[in-house]
Subunit: 227 residues, 2 copies
DNA sequence: TATGCTTCAATCCTATAGGATTTTCTCATT
DNA sequence: AATGAGAAAATCCTATAGGATTGAAGCATA
């Protein structure tokens, strides 16, 4: 419900209402909220209640990408060093899904590519073989994922002239057929480097991909920060 | 209770018993366990119950240190770049505590230095200015902290001849007055580099400190893994 | 008209009880 | 003596009810 913005960023979460809505009692609701709090998706104020956390601020957005630039190129490098048949198959399958997704229509394509991107980076974190890195990545990545789902949601909700310029720009530059396959091309570079065991190339390709990503999303992050 | 080994690694956690023991009902117990599960300190098996997670395996131990080698030198580097008066004061105070702790007797010294080490590294992660890194560090570090508290506990519990060799060796090498101040010396190197704004030196000093730490603790990690 | 106090509603927080599942113990059979 | 089935105990899981705290509305007074 947080990811689908059924519970919007900043919105308060009523335990009683959720309990009725989902047809379960309050105890399992409270457990779930406690877990989400650990993930940073829900904030708790004692004696006041729970509420969904706000979207990333501009600083948090920058911190997240600088952290990604620190750990993900290394993860790709390690993945290239340790890659095996099982890992190759998993990567190949994920790339196949991405290629199929490019044939979808706009809305479906955006949704499919967003999900693909999350799985692709998560997979490489896993293939790094370092459990600490993998866990750290997963915990961090859900915030970025939420950020992008928010953008996709904005594109669907706000139609025509009311739609903020940065939203239209972002999606036309990124997801449309022209340069829209850019991310997939970059993923493919990373994929080839890892499966061929070229650690150095994998590291470099990941670094460039994340920097490219940062440049694309920065205007959106700034616009959201000013809201 | 997990940190103090009142709940030992691997031991099952009975909700009813905890509820009686702490004088509260089951609901707040369940919430706390849900949070600890997110931290990886407690594991849940549905319809079976909760139990404290086991100590780090040898692989997890290695993963954790390789991850530290990736993020902490960078954190020290960033801290040196962004250091301000407030940060300098905090670091200075922490180093002062460490120097005082060296005067304590054996048991108190070990306890104090373990706590100091946790705070020192955490502080630098914070001073890096990167919130993503700081959070990732905190989540990971509690496992290492638990690992070392376990060692300190072993030293207290197992007396004389029954004490495993690696436990005695570790503490004599590390905490005793001879080379025991090694970690503090290394901390001091890092401290000086950061406060003087020498980013390169801070990064290097942190890297060497963690590698040194890894060498000291590896025998213990292997021995525990074989238990 | 603005400020402060009181009262009421909403919501969180906790406690207790009952149903469901798992585990363990006992007993009978091979 | 060992194995399998059945029953009982332990434990988890959920639901409901009541106490405690917070926030807002209403009223009186300066």
């Amino acid at each position: 419900m947080v990811f689908s913005h059924e519970i919007a960023p900043g919105q308060r979460v009523n335990i009683d209402a959720l309990s009725l809505r989902l047809g379960v009692s309050q105890t399992p609701i409270r457990e779930a909220l406690a877990r989400l709090e650990s993930d940073g998706l829900i904030a708790k104020e004692p004696l006041k209640g729970y509420s969904a956390t706000n979207l990333l601020t501009l600083k948090e957005f920058g911190d997240l990408f600088r952290f990604r630039l620190l750990i993900e190129p290394w993860a790709a490098e390690q993945a290239a060093k340790h890659i095996d048949a099982h890992g190759k198959a998993a990567l190949k399958e994920e790339m196949q899904i991405a290629k199929e997704a490019l044939k979808f229509d706009d809305n479906s394509k955006i949704e499919a590519l967003t999900e693909h991107d999350a799985r692709f980076h998560s997979l490489i974190a896993e293939l790094s073989g370092n459990e600490s890195l993998h866990q750290a990545f997963e915990r961090m990545h859900c915030h970025l994922h939420l950020f992008r789902l928010f953008l996709a949601n904005q594109r669907n909700l706000v139609s025509g002239e009311d739609r903020p310029a940065f939203v239209s720009e972002l999606f036309e530059q990124y997801y449309q057929s022209g340069s829209g396959q850019l991310a997939i091309k970059q993923h493919n570079e990373i994929y080839k480097a890892i499966t061929s065991g070229d650690a150095k190339a994998a590291k470099l390709a990941m670094h460039e991909h994340i920097e490219s990503s940062l440049k694309r999303f920065s205007p959106a992050a700034e616009a959201i920060n000013d809201l």
